[in-house]
Amino acid sequence: MPQIRLSDPTLRDGNHAVAHQLTKLQISRYAEAAEAAGVPIVEVGHGNGIGASSLQVGLSCEDDATMLRAAREKLSRSALGIHCIPGFATINKDLRPALDLGVDVVRVASHCTEADITQRHIGFVRDRGKEAMGVLMMSHMASVDVLLEQAAKMEAYGAEAVILMDSAGAYLPADVTLRVGTLVRNLGIPVGFHAHNNLGMAVANSIAAAQAGATILDGTARGFGPGAGNTQLEVLAAVLEKMEISTGINLYGILDLGDLAEREIIPAVPSIKSISIVSGMAGVFSAFTKHVDRISKQYNVDPRDVFFELGRRKIVAGQEDIILEAAQQLAQRKLAT
């Protein structure tokens, strides 16, 4: 039994980086290579999960069923996973069909203070006999005590693990040690961690999480993901191997996976640009970057100002529409001065 279970959302979080335009061919090719590398969980779908394809956060070029089928065909030992946000996805329209298509793992996610919206969806997954995990997004926005309380609710609902997400890439290693450690000590279920690289801390934060007792870590090929990207899976795998922490994956397989991803699905390997540093510092959801860039240009305002304004308003994931209003206000303020 490996000490760390790696979960790979390249085909889901990565979708943010290409405005949800991953094709079924790309999904198929990557899934095949991930299976060969022994990646335990391969997560697939629109960046905001099943049922999220919308004008609000972007329309995906393939529908959920197509994406899931393309991956399902190629995965047998690797589990097929999805991300699911109640409020975007409903049981009837999105979750039930996904489970019917053969999804193995459902990560039901809420904003880090709103775990009680996941009760029914987690319950549904468990009733169908599949694996349900709870996910707390934008977890830097709540205190440790609140995170523990919310994670405990998910545990009460039947979640079989709780994943803390650093959706804005705002954490430093000490933050992770404290938060993951507190959950590990107080929950009866495994704890996982999902990092973003806005401040260059993704791998270090993931290792801190492992040392604090996390047993599930997320990583993507070449760090493919929104903004500055995610934890780079190949690097994480190598570091864990060097630390003699078992993951069950094949190192060369993971390296090949990264190479394939770079060749076939990643138009530009993520790097930490100014705008990502700002969003990390402002504590704003990484996936807002493309929307902020586009709308800032339209209103002729500095995107960095928009990010700090969104951070000031404590905007949560899913509130992309507020970007329009914030940019409009900044533009009006500019005219007034």
Binding site: P86, G87, T90, R120, K314, I315, G318, L324, E325
Partner: protein, 309 residues
Amino acid sequence: MSYTADKMKIAILGSGNIGTDLLVKVLRSPHLECAMFIGRNLASPGMAKANSLGVPISDRSIDAIIQNPDCCELVFDATSAIDHKRHWPILKALGKRVIDLTPSNLGMKCVPAVNLEQCVDCDNVNMISCGGQTSIPLAHAIAQTQQEVEYIEVVSSIASRSAGPATRINLDEYIETTESGLTMFSGCVRTKVILNLNPAQPCVDMQTTISAKVGNPDLTKLNSAVEAIIARVQQYVPGYHMIVAPRVETNRIVMMVKVQGLGDYLPRYAGNLDIINCAALAAAEAFARHHLSTSSFWKGSADASDSTK
């Protein structure tokens, strides 16, 4: 100025926050009189409030009306979908008009700004949902003025504190009810509803974005239709304001409204809860006026004749 003879007697079923807020609104109405405020628990704060306002209270739930059928002509049901399904056959047999604030989907769906006149003769009128009351007027304006409406999407952000356990457990039902309401009032089959809960304190007012994919956007026509319908909504929801006027952004029409509540019994930031109460009140007042006189509901509309009995 005694209007008692000209007021329709109503009862409110459901003594929680929604029912109590509705009571405060009814007490202000020139056309409605609350003959009974009904719940299950005399110790609830809503009951104490009603009592302090001199309104007769009862903890016998639907039995209060069965045992005293002449007490009212119209009933607001602010209980739950399951309870309403039980209440409706009883109230129908008693010949009562019902305004249903639950997502039971039984009655005629009503959005006052759009179809108030068609509802005045219905015996069960359903208020759909808060998101529905907020977005359907605008979706209707889009459908009326744009060609080839392919898709309508509504995203609402509400204060986390305004969403209690009932809302949270029934998120899916809220989404599905609102989507079908949008389809019914716009004729557009493909609709999508998204709900975000924002925990920021101080609490944020309800904010709703309506976007649509249409064949050839005609902003001029849309702007005047939107202005007109917002004016109609504001007659019964004073806190309803446009904050981003209709515009075309990357192949879609988009507009944003904000709803601040009246703060009658619910907090002012709970515009989402207030709008459904305001709409329910407007529907009831239309019933009452229709029953009591023939004057039109809309101020300044062409057929406003003031012929009272």
